[in-house]
């Protein structure tokens, strides 16, 4: 029988390997943040849309289909703005470009920076909803009582799954003045 009494060295090696796993998993926890975004892009989880402008690349318009796009807006707590879409819904053919306008007015007595966060439902449609230009790409500073009309230019990808006939775009408006001030 061999006496393989463990040496401190062999412990150290094992501990080092295990510590490597621990540190790796800690990093992995943070890596899940970008991974989650990739995962969302692929699966349409949570209806995240592109947060940077895309070029219009659709080849042709599919006039055989009509998709209803609904717009809803929502003010997060404590932002005293009027914020609404100027039209509530629009019918489009996949591949067709459209521009819709949103209205915002700061009703507070001081300037506020707003940020609109988009979300599309059903989530699976989010990847097919292409924004060429959107006010949500940028922060929106408004002086007291200032009002503005903001444009969204978009098209729906011709590859949109056949069973989707209605999709809803929601904007939640947040007050990010404090966040910006603290930067």
């Amino acid at each position: 029988m061999t006496s393989d009494k463990p040496t401190p060295q062999s412990h150290t090696t094992t501990v080092k390997k295990l510590m490597f796993v621990v540190v790796g998993m800690f990093a992995f926890g943070f890596a899940l943040v970008p991974l989650y975004d990739v995962f969302c892009d692929i699966t349409g989880l949570n209806g995240k849309t592109n947060d940077e402008a895309v070029a219009y690349t659709a080849d042709g318009i599919d006039t055989s289909r009509t998709v209803t796009v609904q717009f809803i807006t929502h003010n997060a707590k404590q932002i005293p703005w009027k914020f609404k879409p100027l039209i509530q819904q629009i019918k489009v053919h996949p591949g067709e470009q459209k521009v819709v306008k949103f209205y915002a007015k700061n009703q507070a007595t001081q300037a506020i920076v707003g940020q609109a966060v988009p979300s599309v439902s059903p989530g699976i449609a989010a990847g097919y909803f292409q924004k060429i230009e959107c006010f949500c790409f940028e922060r929106q500073p408004l002086q007291a009582d200032e009002e503005v009309e903001m444009a969204l230019q978009f098209y729906v990808d011709v590859d949109l799954p056949k069973d989707i006939s209605t999709l809803t775009l929601s904007y939640t408006l947040y007050d990010i003045s404090e966040k910006i001030a603290s930067l």
């Binding site: 949570n46 209806g47 609904q70 809803i72 929502h74 997060a76 707590k77 404590q78 005293p80 509530q88 819904q89 009703q107 507070a108 007595t109 966060v117 979300s119 599309v120 439902s121 059903p122 007291a144 009582d145 069973d163 989707i164 006939s165 209605t166 809803t168 929601s170 939640t172 947040y174 007050d175 003045s177 404090e178």
Partner: protein, 380 residues
């Protein structure tokens, strides 16, 4: 002897409780095709599990009874059998597949949100629901209507409780029967979950994102549910009530709502020029305060510091400017749990509640606030 009597009384009260017969044991069957499918699936799995349980525990109790040392049982020698182990890996797989098939088809049906007749935006907020009918001007908050004294009974005798204690609201959501109603859910603050057991609909309302669910109800009636996701202090006090009406009644209700909106706008206009007496303001202010503010700031005005500050003696409600006070009530206060009530309360109610807060609990500032002041201060 008295002690023993008390124990008997307790036991008797446990068994003879009148409400005992109302206690529900099983899942709600519900009033939609989906909820019925869900119920059937639930029963299927329950039966399968029970059957497996009976067999496995049956075998176990057989050996517990017959293979015991005290009966002189001698232990057998076997301790593995590839054949039998493969068998009891394979059989569960087959059973699982049998469950997965109906589950998959129900799930596909549930997730089919297309072709809805009506869309309603449902927004959770601490601690009430807001409903907005898409493409209509109708929107309203739906708040628990059980009076506080029914549940706050720290000392003294419990109050008599209403039949739908904690699952009743001031304004239920109204939807028509036999129409596919699509719910678009989101939240103002934390995550809530909108749940109506009779529809088998439970969907989270996530802040900044929208979620979908739908129901097509077969039968008119009133259906009750609750918020299902822990959302803070009053998570247990934000019920969901849905009233399902026949098509005619629903149309009638829509008309009434339009009329109510017009009336409210007129009243709002009228209140601007009207001037209310202190008594009127205090009275309306107190009832408004109890309904909307007391959950956090407490009926005593003492709040629950540090999250919910006291109003009694607070600078905002005493020495501070009235404009600032109105602004906080109207627009909320960023970075805190204080939300804006501008959308939820009328100008008159805000005027009254500000007046009330500035004069109640010994805050006797003597300030009177009128609707016109609220309008001026809010920048509306």
């Amino acid at each position: 002897m008295r002690g023993r009597n008390r124990i008997w009384l307790l036991l008797v009260s446990l068994f003879s409780n009148a409400a005992w017969s109302d206690s529900q044991l099983n899942l709600t069957k519900g009033v939609t095709a989906i909820s019925n499918e869900v119920y059937d699936l639930h029963m299927l799995v329950l039966y399968i599990c029970t059957a497996i349980g009976v067999i496995v525990f049956g075998v176990m109790f057989w050996s517990i009874i017959f293979h015991r040392k005290s009966k002189g049982a001698k232990p057998a020698d076997f301790h593995e059998s590839t054949k039998i182990e493969i068998l009891w890996t394979a059989i569960p797989v087959v059973i699982l597949i049998a469950m997965a098939i109906p589950a998959t088809s129900t799930l596909i049906a549930m997730e089919d949100n297309s072709d809805s007749d009506i869309t309603i935006q449902v927004t959770g907020s601490q601690w009430k629901w807001h409903y907005k009918y898409f493409d209509q001007d109708i929107e309203f908050y739906s708040v628990l209507s059980t009076p506080r004294e029914q549940y706050e009974n720290h000392n003294g005798e419990p109050a008599t409780r209403s039949e739908h204690y904690l699952i009743e609201v001031d304004k239920p959501l109204v939807i028509p029967v036999n129409k596919k109603v699509r719910f678009l859910l989101t939240s103002d603050d934390v995550i809530h979950s909108w749940w109506v057991p009779a529809f088998a609909v439970k969907q989270d309302a996530n802040p900044g994102f929208i979620n979908e669910a739908w129901a097509k109800v077969d039968k008119p009636g009133i259906y009750r549910g609750q918020c299902a996701e822990l959302c803070g202090k009053d998570h247990g006090f934000m019920p969901v009530v849905v009233e399902v009406k026949s098509e005619e009644d629903y149309q009638q209700w829509l008309k009434e709502q339009q009329q109510l909106i017009a009336d409210a706008a007129n009243a709002e206009q009228a209140s601007l020029s009207a001037s209310m007496s202190k008594e009127e303001l205090m009275q309306l202010g107190e009832s408004t305060y109890l309904a909307h503010c007391a959950a956090c700031h407490q009926p005593t005005g003492l709040g629950i510091p540090p999250a919910f500050p006291a109003l009694k003696g607070s600078p905002i409600a005493t020495t501070g400017s009235i404009e600032e006070h109105i602004d906080i009530v109207f627009n909320g206060k960023a970075g805190t749990g204080m939300q804006g009530y501008g959308k939820q309360l009328s100008l008159k109610e805000i005027a009254a509640v500000v007046t009330f807060e500035r004069n109640a609990w010994g805050n006797d500032t003597g300030d009177l606030v009128q609707s016109a002041d609220v309008k001026a201060a809010s920048g509306e």
